[in-house]
Symmetry: none
Subunit: 216 residues, 2 copies
DNA sequence: TCCAGACTGGACAGAAAGTCCAGAGGGGCT
DNA sequence: AGCCCCTCTGGACTTTCTGTCCAGTCTGGA
């Protein structure tokens, strides 16, 4: 299901069984990706969690730190999807008999369902109300990710093709969460929203002002 | 297993099946206790988690808030055992046909194993250490008050007669709590510590710098 | 093709954040 | 008391951010 691979490529034929086996073992919540380290493109993908397909460019950062290093296996490290899902990832550089890197295998495990299950368990018989929705993130930049992420999930609209209204709504939530009381937050938000700092301040001004716009 | 009951008592004969059924359903992690509200003693206990037995006095506080109230079912509320286990408890006042309280049934569910399981689940594949200590206050100025307040309480030294060391310690805690990442926090802290802004920055610098002071 | 609305990048003023220092207490010691 | 050392103070000053503005670019729709 959802497997996409290029059977023409010898590397794919070589590694596909491994990738598929792992994908089967870890159920629907693990994505296995085979990358071409030369072209930085996807060779094959099993259980894709995003809309990537064969030939698409590899996600920025997924391979970034890998090449210069001496070791071949990386992680596990944490990644955050725009929709808020938490992934645990490992990567391995796969070499041909001559020792040259021929592919990079990445396994991305979605930890969200496990965490939800954990929440169910610890809520069982718990008399105290769960935290009111709150921001148990120590790190405010995670909070930003989280808020933007849940908005994306709710609306199904990724950051890249948000409308002005979407941005206004997201900024409203961020404002509510007092995010802008934190130093340096505005530029970070601008970055996360793929928008310039000016735009953020513009939208923010529109939000905060008595909107004279509503009555023409 | 581990059931202790007094078959002589009519109330026990009446309620024992209920108690036993609940004890069986909730496995080894729920303790069911039948109390005598008049003598404040244990009439019967199933799956005892502590060393209480029939005839022992009921645990202090277990019945405290029950009597004066109008309702008959209480909880769930949280209890803490000396060994650190967290219990979720409910209680019910059981009445005879004349409406007089004849027994009190308490069910104590040990939530520890569930919470451990939850921890296992959310640790599965988790690369990062769990959050270093949440501090889920929305309002950062409250957080400042809270940190300073607890220091004062711990040391018994009010803000006015703090020593330099005290101030350093407090600032250390505030720093740890990332308080100074918030705009305008420094002056507020200075005010709360009854000290000038300069002093705050001075002490802060001393804290953050490689303390050359330690090696004379 | 042209227009209108939206975003950008850079410039800039103003506000905080930090740094620095001369001078004012204020204990403790002689 | 008188002195000294340590610490805090208030203010001046530099640096870093914040928030505003605007001319110019991009883009989708009529």
């Amino acid at each position: 299901m959802g497997n996409v691979e290029d059977p023409q490529d010898a590397r794919v034929r070589l590694w596909a069984p491994v990738a598929q086996a792992v994908a089967l073992l870890l159920g629907p919540y693990a994505e296995v990706v085979l990358h071409d380290p030369d072209t930085d493109r996807v060779l094959g993908i099993w259980n894709p969690m995003t809309s990537r397909g064969v030939g698409d460019p590899s996600l920025l950062g997924e391979l970034d730190d890998l090449e210069p290093s001496a070791q071949d296996v990386f992680g596990p490290y944490e990644k955050l999807l725009v929709d808020g899902r938490r992934l645990t990832s490992v990567s391995a550089v796969l070499r041909d008999p001559q020792g040259r890197p021929s592919a990079v295998l990445c396994i991305n495990l979605d930890r969200t369902p496990l965490e939800q299950a954990a929440a169910v368990l610890s809520a069982f018989g718990a008399p105290t109300v769960q935290r009111p929705e709150p921001l148990f993130e120590q790190d405010w930049s995670e909070r930003i990710q989280h808020i933007i992420g849940s908005y994306v999930r709710e609306t199904g609209r990724p950051v890249e093709r948000m409308t002005r209204q979407d941005r206004l709504a997201v900024l409203g939530r961020l404002e509510e969460a007092r995010v802008f009381a934190v130093r340096r937050a505005a530029p970070v938000v601008a970055g996360a929203l793929r928008v310039s700092r000016s735009t953020v301040y513009g939208l923010l001004a529109e939000l905060r002002s008595p909107n004279a716009k509503d009555r023409p």
